[in-house]
């Protein structure tokens, strides 16, 4: 019985290669069935995303055979010679395969460490395998364990905290100030690409009212129309400033266009409600003094990038703790897997002892014909208790050992010690 993971990712291959070996959603069911049949009804899951293509298989035979078959399947399915992609492939088996999946599901192997999208993709891959009935008991437990580990990594460390793009940091800041963004209003001044991206993120998070200010009215109207917003003339900017909870400035103006006085007036009209000002323009659109005002939170592009860098650093610092959580998950899974492997051996061992006990008891009883029914029963009961007590410790130890050593070796040793193979 072997567990293997074969695949390629952004670490080992360029995007062109991943595109060629990817499995679009509509081909996935057939690919799963084809692969499972090829591996003698093995449990299989195919994980195909823009950053990785991986196949997980639980195969009844040797791991090397499973790996060869998966490589051959990839080549045949995509009609690409194996030599074209062999060097980009990584192959894991047993404990390494389990650890790899746990790291992938937890976002520790992702391009952006700690991202959560991959967990959804792993989940989708598992659901697809379930739908095609290629997820057997071991695969089922493997993926459930991966989801649990990912959840622990997320809840017990800060690896998923803090956004790592400028637009999502802006959304995070807005949430830190306003909580729910539903019903909030945003004003975009200018038409820079980054500003639009930030606006898009804010709208996606519930911002309803959009005001667009631009020196060119047609540009303002075009952007406002996209978000069902209102276009305002540039000259009336300070008159409408109080309407915005979030102000994004992204103009190409050579000098600052918003000053402390403008916000001072706006704050009065807003009854001191807080305002987040995101100045993405270079040179800056908002005078630095604005940041000194109470209830105004001013961030320029450098500040936002600094937050992004800090968040990336925080995620990096958490990796060690995340890996430790993943490793504990691997230990638990391998222990369960080991107990699956040794279960038949333990049953055989118990049966072997029972045969010996039965044989020897019958011999003894035959030589003692004068015993009463009660005495015969007591003797039988005595032998059963002795055997049960003798077996108790080896059984516990075997179950314990398979969690820490190769289950195959443990099984082999037990079989040799108790001569189980000979009697089976």
């Amino acid at each position: 019985m072997s567990l293997v993971a074969v695949g390629l990712s952004h670490h080992t291959s360029p995007v062109a290669m991943r595109e060629r070996l990817g499995f679009p959603a509509h081909t996935l069911p057939n690919a799963l069935l084809h692969l499972a049949n090829r591996l003698d009804k093995a449990g299989t899951v195919i994980l195909s995303t823009c950053n990785r293509v991986e196949i997980y298989a639980h195969y009844a035979g040797e791991a090397a055979v499973a790996r060869d078959e998966i490589r051959a399947f990839l080549g045949e399915w995509h009609e690409i010679p194996e030599t074209d992609f062999k060097d980009a492939l990584y192959e894991h088996e047993g404990r390494d395969a389990v650890g790899h999946l746990f790291r992938v599901a937890s976002g520790l192997d992702s391009l952006v460490i700690g991202e959560t999208q991959i967990l959804g993709q792993v989940h989708d891959a598992y659901i697809a395998a379930q739908a095609e009935q290629t997820a057997d008991k071991v695969i089922h437990n493997l993926f459930q364990s991966a989801f649990t580990v990912a959840k622990h990594v997320r809840s017990q460390t800060a690896v998923g905290e803090g956004k790592v793009s400028v637009s999502s940091v802006a959304v995070d800041l807005a949430a830190s100030i306003f909580g729910e963004l539903t019903g909030k209003s945003v004003m975009v001044i200018g038409s820079g690409e980054m500003g639009e991206l930030t606006l898009k993120s804010l709208v996606a998070h519930g911002v309803k009212s959009v005001l667009v200010v631009n020196r060119h009215p047609e540009r303002a109207q075009a952007l406002a129309a996209q978000y069902d917003g209102e276009a305002l003339p540039f000259e009336s900017l300070s008159d409408h400033l109080h309407k915005a909870d979030i102000v994004i400035t992204t103009t190409a103006a050579p000098r600052t266009i918003l000053h402390a006085n403008d916000f001072h007036h706006a704050l009065k009209l807003r009854q001191q409600a807080p305002t987040l000002v995101i100045d993405i323009a270079v040179p800056r659109d908002v005078d630095a003094d604005v940041g000194e005002l109470d209830n105004i939170y001013l961030y320029n592009i450098d500040d936002l990038e600094q937050v992004v860098n800090e968040n990336i650093e925080v995620r990096r610092r958490e990796i060690e703790q995340c890996l430790a959580i993943a490793e504990r998950g691997v230990d638990q899974f391998m222990h369960w897997m080991g107990s699956l492997i040794v279960a038949p051996t333990i049953t055989s061992m118990a049966r072997e002892f029972e045969i010996i006990r039965e044989r020897e008891t019958q011999k003894t009883l035959a030589s003692l014909p004068d015993l009463t029914e009660k005495q015969r029963y007591e003797l039988e009961y005595l032998t059963k208790r002795i055997v049960s007590n003798i077996l108790k410790r080896p059984m516990t130890e075997i179950k314990h050992e398979v969690g820490h050593h190769d289950p195959g070796t443990v099984v082999h040793l037990v079989k040799r010690l108790f001569g189980i193979e000979e009697s089976m």
Partner: protein, 282 residues
């Protein structure tokens, strides 16, 4: 029973202190489980202090509300319960890191002075309205305390955002707007309760001034209480008129809480809590 009294009190104080330490550890480590243990310790501490309250009542046959130790005990019971319920209702457990350390300090302080008061019979409160007056006053103090600590949390969070420091704490803190809303609501509950408490005490003292002496309304405690009423009236009015919000309101509430501390603990320690102050029998 006296042994039980000591065990309940010191156990309650210890549990509160441990809860405070755990909530500070959360600020340092960021592990949410630490805070969950802290909440359990608060419940344990509250139960132990309630037991101490019940034992003292049974032992001396008087409601234990009048000594400094009894007052601090009641304050801890009410505040601890209130803080846990507030943070649970608003799903803002991070705020416990601001609420529990001061409670732990109060608990430590009461443990230090306990030997003077623990086995001393409480002063008899002659009328039932007085018991209600003291109970309501402490509920109002607890709400003002919660408002003060919420202000501290607001200022801390605001300072981080102003200076572009985004630590794990800023990500787990409630938003500034939520803190501002919580602060406003706490003031909205605490202020009328405080006014009601004073009004009730005033009516009782007016109807039956004999135990308090002829010049009870000039006692430092009464004068400061009315200063507090005016102070919080201004704060509540400015907040709801939209003239005061955010950092300025937070500073004001913190200042108000500092006066409240002087009003209660300061006057108690200085021996100025009596109503006969101007007649020389304080």
């Amino acid at each position: 029973m006296v042994v039980g009294l000591h065990v309940a009190f010191y156990l309650g104080s210890l549990l509160y202190c441990c809860a405070g330490v755990l909530s500070l550890t959360y600020l340092w480590k960021g592990d949410a489980r630490v805070l969950q243990y802290g909440v359990r310790l608060v419940w344990g501490g509250t139960a132990a202090l309630l037991a101490m309250f019940a034992i003292r009542w049974t032992l001396y046959g008087r409601v234990p509300l009048t000594s400094l130790l009894d007052s601090l005990n009641l304050f801890l019971i009410l505040s601890g319960t209130l803080m846990v319920l507030i943070t649970r209702k608003h799903n803002v457990s991070t705020l416990l890191s601001f609420y529990l350390p001061p409670l732990a300090a109060v608990s430590l302080g009461s443990a230090v002075i306990a030997h003077r008061y623990l086995t001393e019979a409480p002063i008899l409160l002659q009328r039932a309205p007085l018991v209600i007056h003291v109970g309501l006053a402490f509920l109002a103090y607890s709400l003002f305390f919660a408002a003060g600590m919420t202000s501290a949390a607001y200022l801390c969070h605001m300072s981080h955002l102003k200076h572009h420091r985004t630590t794990w704490l800023t990500r787990r803190m409630p938003s500034l707007q939520e803190l501002d809303t919580m602060l406003s609501r706490l003031l909205l509950y605490a202020y009328p309760l405080f006014v009601l408490t004073l009004a009730q005490g005033l009516i009782w003292a007016w109807l039956d001034p004999s135990p308090l002496g002829p010049q009870w309304w000039f006692a430092p405690k009464v004068v400061l209480s009315f200063v507090m009423v005016l102070f919080y009236a201004c704060a509540v009015h400015l907040r709801f008129a939209g003239m005061l919000r955010g950092p300025k309101l937070s500073y004001l509430v913190l200042f108000g809480f500092a006066i409240l501390l002087v009003l209660y603990v300061g006057l108690s320690l200085a021996g100025l809590r009596g109503y006969h102050f101007w007649s020389g029998q304080a």
